[in-house]
Amino acid sequence: DAGVTQSPTHLIKTRGQHVTLRCSPISGHKSVSWYQQVLGQGPQFIFQYYEKEERGRGNFPDRFSARQFPNYSSELNVNALLLGDSALYLCASSPALRGSEKLFFGSGTQLSVL
């Protein structure tokens, strides 16, 4: 079975632009989470979706939004990009919505904002 897939792998944008990142979870997984990993830091939680509903939001501005589709894939959108949005964006999936869940991560999208 395929793991969590993210696209694109790398992306270069300029300040003020908009970006859409995509994630396909492991087949059968209904929960998708997004994390931002700035260079030299641990991942920071952005959003969690389960069954197409937002179930958690981290401390990120409204420029960040996401959605989950009927097939459980997900998109992360970032508007009005800032230099500080440059980071590795990680998507993770899990079968259910419990604190004990093992998360399966994709290899991320490396976003560079110039």
Binding site: G42, P43, F45, L97, S100
Partner: protein, 116 residues
């Protein structure tokens, strides 16, 4: 709010030797989960080991084991018989228990180098 602290930015170990990575956390929760994730250069985070806070017995997965001290809020990872493939960033993470919603709170990570 929960915080996770990894005080060792970098560590190194000789191949076949044992190394311990440190992690402390702060929470007011009584029931929670702790994790160690590995991030190799491929960038994909991989679960190494998981500990349930209400279990006193330390978790073990092959060459990986933890020393969980709940009162001290300490959760260290011991890697025995280190292999070259163990070289990676290691992140300690915390998750609240229960269903409904959860998020992982990560530490800043420890970069582990394995010397042949």
């Amino acid at each position: 709010a929960q915080t996770v602290t990894q005080s060792q930015p970098e560590m190194s170990v000789q191949e076949a030797e044992t190394v311990t990575l440190s992690c402390t956390y702060d929470t007011s929760e009584s029931d929670y989960y702790l994790f160690w994730y590995k991030q190799p250069p491929s960038r994909q985070m991989i679960l190494v080991i998981r500990q349930e806070a209400y279990k006193q017995q330390n978790a073990t997965e092959n060459r990986f084991s933890v020393n969980f001290q709940k009162a001290a809020k300490s959760f260290s990872l011991k890697i025995s018989d280190s292999q070259l493939g163990d070289a990676a960033m290691y992140f300690c993470a915390f998750s609240r228990s229960g269903a409904g919603s959860y998020q992982l709170t990560f530490g800043k990570g420890t970069k582990l180098s394995v010397i042949p």
